[in-house]
């Protein structure tokens, strides 16, 4: 595998957080700075090393992974950002080494004694610049971990690295802008309650025009059985719009007693990419809202990082969630035992169960204009769980369904390359390079509809297809469900 040691990807840096957002979020060292001019605080080195000591002693995985990597190189050609740029620092192991070399220098005996001989390096402003650049060229998709003989997960080291960067006042606008909005307005897109209402009303009108059916979406309804939390992009339009409508139609048809919330109108969680605290904060609002509304359980929409948080972190961070009930589908009576503790179910699990019990009347011919293929988002696929359900649904709602190349499918999927905070205009060139193998694979299938269950996928792939002028529509699995639903 060739590498380009001129570090061609070093020029791609996410823009700096606004000072006002740093203040809103109570981030350390609020100040004016930019991606080229960090204006680090005078004691940055001390703060960084202290934070580093803290993270390696808080996460067993991080210390273990830093210690046991043997530099075998099996991960090197697995990262789409390396394949796309040939920048050696985008090889997962080299990305980790940016962090590992400093860890060795200050926290290991061999590193303190033998220094460069074992790859230990001083922490300098240049290191920090490399950290800010390359830690934010990782979408934390965990593809490398699948192939690592010890399961070393770059994502976890990046989470730790970003904690350290945040501690010295370096975090990108692409994350903090959304997080600040979520924590103050209610969602990443910054949609206030009235705008959310009009979006919902607009969807209702469109459904009326298309099907002749009167649909009413309950908002902030106390005592509803289920709280439905889609990613806020669904209210915004674009490739997400069909998903919102599909879900609303389906809920109406099965007579589901649900509500959406304006306060907790964000299924997604950009905090995930910044660090533990803000992930917990954003997720906390879902739990608080479920409690206030008195619902029985929570249903999550089509969102990738929502899946990561609800499946892996929610119960740990904001549990025990014992004021809710173990999720039971009111339509089929199915107990979602696997979500017994977290009390939150993903809409694909819910819909697949409806189909399995024959509770949805579907006409797959309604999607005959499409040849559909499914993109496994990194989070649902590799944070273990949602691989079969979306496929099960798709096979029931459309007739022309094709699978992608097995080398980049299922747990081996190449992601949309826009997660982890990379969905920003300034990274488009980088992302277009990284996502190339995936786009080629999609083209090879001959599909004209790319179904996915992640709001970031939908936004990113639409951008990519526009750029390459590919006649492929991007949409949610539930958009196709919505099309196939039969109204009597």
């Amino acid at each position: 595998m060739k590498v380009d040691t001129s570090l061609p990807a070093r020029k791609y840096k996410l823009y700096a957080t606004w000072k006002r957002d740093m203040e809103t979020m109570h981030l350390p060292f609020p100040r004016e700075w930019s991606h080229t001019q960090f204006n680090l605080p005078p004691n940055w080195k001390e703060v960084a090393l202290k934070k580093m000591d803290e993270v390696v002693n808080k996460f067993r995985s991080v210390k273990l992974f830093l210690d046991i990597c043997v530099k075998c190189g099996a991960c090197t050609d697995k990262c789409p950002f390396f394949l796309g740029t040939l920048d050696p620092n985008n090889m997962p192991v080299a990305r980790q080494d940016l962090f590992r070399s400093v860890y060795k220098r200050y926290f290991t005996l061999t590193g303190k004694i033998f220094k460069g001989f074992v790859g230990a390096e001083e922490l300098t402003e240049e290191t920090v610049e490399l950290w800010y650049t390359y830690f934010y060229q990782c979408s934390q998709c965990r593809r490398c971990s699948v192939f690592c003989p010890y399961g070393i997960d770059t994502a976890e080291i990046m989470i730790a690295g970003r904690e350290v960067l945040t501690a010295i006042g370096l975090s990108p606008r692409s994350l903090t802008e959304a997080i600040a909005k979520c924590e103050t307005v209610g969602n990443h897109m910054g949609i206030p309650p009235a705008a959310l209402l009009s979006a919902v009303q607009f969807a209702e009108e469109e459904i009326k025009e298309e099907t002749g059916i009167d649909v009413k979406v309950p908002i902030n309804k106390k005592g509803a059985e289920i709280l439905y939390v889609p990613p806020s992009a669904d209210f915004f339009g674009g490739p997400h719009w069909g998903t919102l409508k599909g879900a609303i139609k389906m809920f109406h048809l099965i007579g589901l007693d649900y509500t959406i919330s304006t306060y907790a109108s964000e299924g997604g969680n950009f905090g995930t990419w910044l660090g533990y605290e803000h992930m917990k904060k954003i997720n906390r609002k879902l739990v608080e809202e479920a409690k206030r509304l008195g619902v029985k359980w929570i249903l999550g929409g089509e969102c990738g990082h929502m899946w990561r948080v609800i499946h892996a972190f929610m119960d740990t961070m904001n549990g025990p969630i014992d004021f809710l009930e173990e999720p039971v589908s009111p339509i089929t009576g199915t107990k979602f035992e696997h979500a017994a503790s977290t009390k939150m179910v993903h809409i694909c699990e819910f819909t697949a169960d409806l189909i399995k019990h024959g509770k949805l009347k579907l006409n797959p011919d309604a999607n005959n204009q499409y040849v559909v293929t499914y993109h496994d988002s990194c989070n649902p696929a590799r944070v273990v769980g949602l691989i079969e359900e979306p496929r099960y649904i798709l096979r029931h709602v459309c007739k022309n369904y094709v699978e992608l190349d097995p080398n980049i499918n299922r747990e081996k999927t190449i992601c949309c390359c826009a997660g982890g905070g990379l969905l920003a205009d300034e990274t488009i060139e980088l992302r277009l390079k990284a996502v190339r193998p995936k786009l080629e694979a999609i083209k090879r299938t001959g599909a004209n509809f790319l179904a996915c269950i992640c709001a970031i996928d939908k936004a990113a792939f639409t951008e990519y297809f526009d750029h390459y002028k590919l006649p492929i529509t991007v949409g949610g699995v539930h958009e196709l469900v919505g099309n196939a639903l039969v109204f009597d």
């Binding site: 099996a74 050696p88 399961g151």
Partner: protein, 269 residues
Amino acid sequence: MDPLIFFIGYITPYIAFFTLILGLIYRVVRWLSIPIPVRFPVAPAPVTYTGVLKRMSLDFFAFRSLLKGNKKLWIGGYVFHVALAITLVSHIINVYFHELWEVIGYGWYEAVLYSGIFFLAALFFLLVRRILLPNVRYISKLSDYIILVLLISIVFLGVYMRSFGLVDMASVSEYMYSLLRFNPIPPPNNIWFLTHYVLAQILFIYVPFSKISHLIGWILSTTRNMRNITRWKRHVNPWDYPVEVITWEEYYRKFKDELDSIGPDGERR
């Protein structure tokens, strides 16, 4: 006695042995002392302990994850590790239980020599690969080469001694037994053996401080050894802490007009 021989025959063997054992124990205890705040396995993760055992066994016995990722490296790495295991076991038999070969069969005793040759070949493959492949060269530090050179030297000396019968096995065995009894006799005064022996001691000391600690560390890998039951059984983070979020009341005050336009208390039924 030559002070150097005294040193490497009487003192450093104990230092090397105890550094290896105690160092690895310290390493594992240190890892275990750090909490696992979240349950975060990587797909395809099983939900049962049996499933985890199966997954870990396949990774241990067949290097399955590596096989998925890099076939050439898999062959090199697999031959290296199997030859290493054979070498370690046959050393113990040779030195301490030589009579066992009568039970196992001297044919096997001969075969071990060939495993040594495979061992060397695999090590050369790993070294050449590290030097020639640009991506692997980029991630290699000096210590990554040195460890391979050290292993190659040890194995080469071993194979060489064995092939030409340069060392009297019985005297090595006698010396090794004396070490076990903490009453050492002088080591065989044989330059081939002594060099092989000293290099092996250096390796022993190096193991716990280096990446070679992966020989135990992989068992603790949280992406591999955890069950996929996160939503079903709560995983507790010992250092979790409460966070403040905007309350509904604060939110309501902030967007009162808008929420009231939706309905009383922001409710639309």
